[in-house]
Amino acid sequence: MREGAVNRYTLKNAGLFQPNFGAKKWTNPSTTIIAVTFDGGVVLGSDSRVSAGESVVNRVMNKLSPLHDQIYCALSGSAADAQTIAEIVNYQLDVHSIEVEDDPLVCSAATLVKNISYKYKEELSAHLIVAGWDRKKGGQVYATLNGLLSRQPFAIGGSGSFYINGFVDAEYRKNMTRRESQEFVVNALTLAMGRDDSSGGVAYVVTIDKDGAEEKCVLGNELPTFFDE
């Protein structure tokens, strides 16, 4: 059983601890997520904090949710909304891939997410970044904020992402290697977690290429440090 599934169960049945519990702070996406393409695949990253007001409800939540073998999505915003969208799209993609008798395209996954986000945009407050690898176009990253669909070389999301806009604008380069992309993602997450109180914990990193998906967890004491630490 995946770690993510355990957390999902815990959160859903924790009743009162739904992050949508009425304080206005939760209308803001409370997380940091990032996805970057590199030559041959994509790297996704997220922090691990779920906060309900001032309290951290889950400090080890994996916000990188698989939609298919080589397609993942990064969750931000309301945890309940985001997880539900991911579950529904996971199911729809399974059905779709059986029908076409092939692995689904990342574009298809992103479109399914976008359709739900757009149709229910008044009720939902979740932003999913969809990223993965397929045979047709290789590594791709799609942003689906508020129901738009935009393919980008990289995407950032969540409340922590505001603080790293300058950093990613300056440091992103096309055609980084796999290792450079992973470092870029971990650095960006660390900087965001350092400034945003709604992001923190450990960094989850998923690297997807033609050989499959590799999940990694970078613990707090293994994260890079910067000049004031």
């Binding site: 300058g166 950093f167 300056a170 000049f227």
Partner: protein, 216 residues
């Protein structure tokens, strides 16, 4: 915990901004964008937000233009008086304390985020930040204004202790450019100033001369 709400205060600022100050060995480098907005209209696209308080002490103003101008005028008067009494150049910390006194006492009425930076013979180049609310703290590098949220990550990762004057100028110009690119309330030109024992050198980087970053 200290409540430094400068990164959230931009939502209710009348005039939003990107300002920055960096200490180096021998002085400070300060920088600001040049946009003053009233709602969606840019009231002044070539504003000078770097205000001299004394010969070698400057302040970078963010928040309400009216409030910060009034505070700066008051502090300039008080500091001038103080330095005549002392018969020597005032300390940067004194200027920062005067700002803090006023910003804290009238915190309910004011909306002012100020960075005080300068050079004095006793402690060299210093940067003090006095964000909304009226706390004061010394930092080697400080950013402020609405655009500052976007460059915290860049500043945290790129600042190194012991940079030279030219490196600080480049660092400040790049950081402010990135902030101006992302923040709708910041823009125009980048105004820079170097304050050191030798005095003040000011420069302006026009829009077409700003550093470029490889975006898509």
């Amino acid at each position: 915990t200290l409540e430094a709400c400068c990164s959230r205060a931009w939502t209710s600022c009348f005039n939003s901004t990107s300002i920055m100050a960096v200490e180096f060995e021998g002085g400070v480098v300060i920088g600001a964008d040049s946009r003053t907005t009233t709602g969606a209209y840019i009231a002044n696209r070539v504003t000078d937000k770097l205000t001299p308080i004394h010969e070698r002490i400057f302040c970078c103003r963010s928040g309400s233009a009216a409030d910060t101008q009034a505070i700066a005028d008051a502090v300039t008067y008080q500091l001038g008086f103080h330095s005549i009494e002392l018969d020597e150049a005032p300390l940067v910390q004194t200027a920062a304390s005067l700002f803090r006194e006023m910003c804290y006492r009238y915190r309910e009425e004011l909306m002012a985020g100020i960075i005080v930076a300068g050079w004095d013979p006793r402690r060299g180049g210093q940067v003090y930040t006095v964000p909304v609310g009226g706390m004061m703290t010394r930092q080697p590098v400080s950013v402020g204004g609405s655009g500052s949220s976007y460059i915290y990550g860049y500043v945290d990762s790129n600042y190194r202790a012991g940079m030279s004057k030219e490196e600080c100028l480049k660092f400040t110009a790049e950081a402010l450019t990135l902030a101006m690119e992302r923040d709708g309330s910041s823009g125009g030109v980048v105004r820079l100033a170097v304050v050191s024992e030798q005095g003040v050198e000011r420069q302006v980087i026009l829009g077409n001369q700003l550093p470029k970053f490889s975006t898509v």
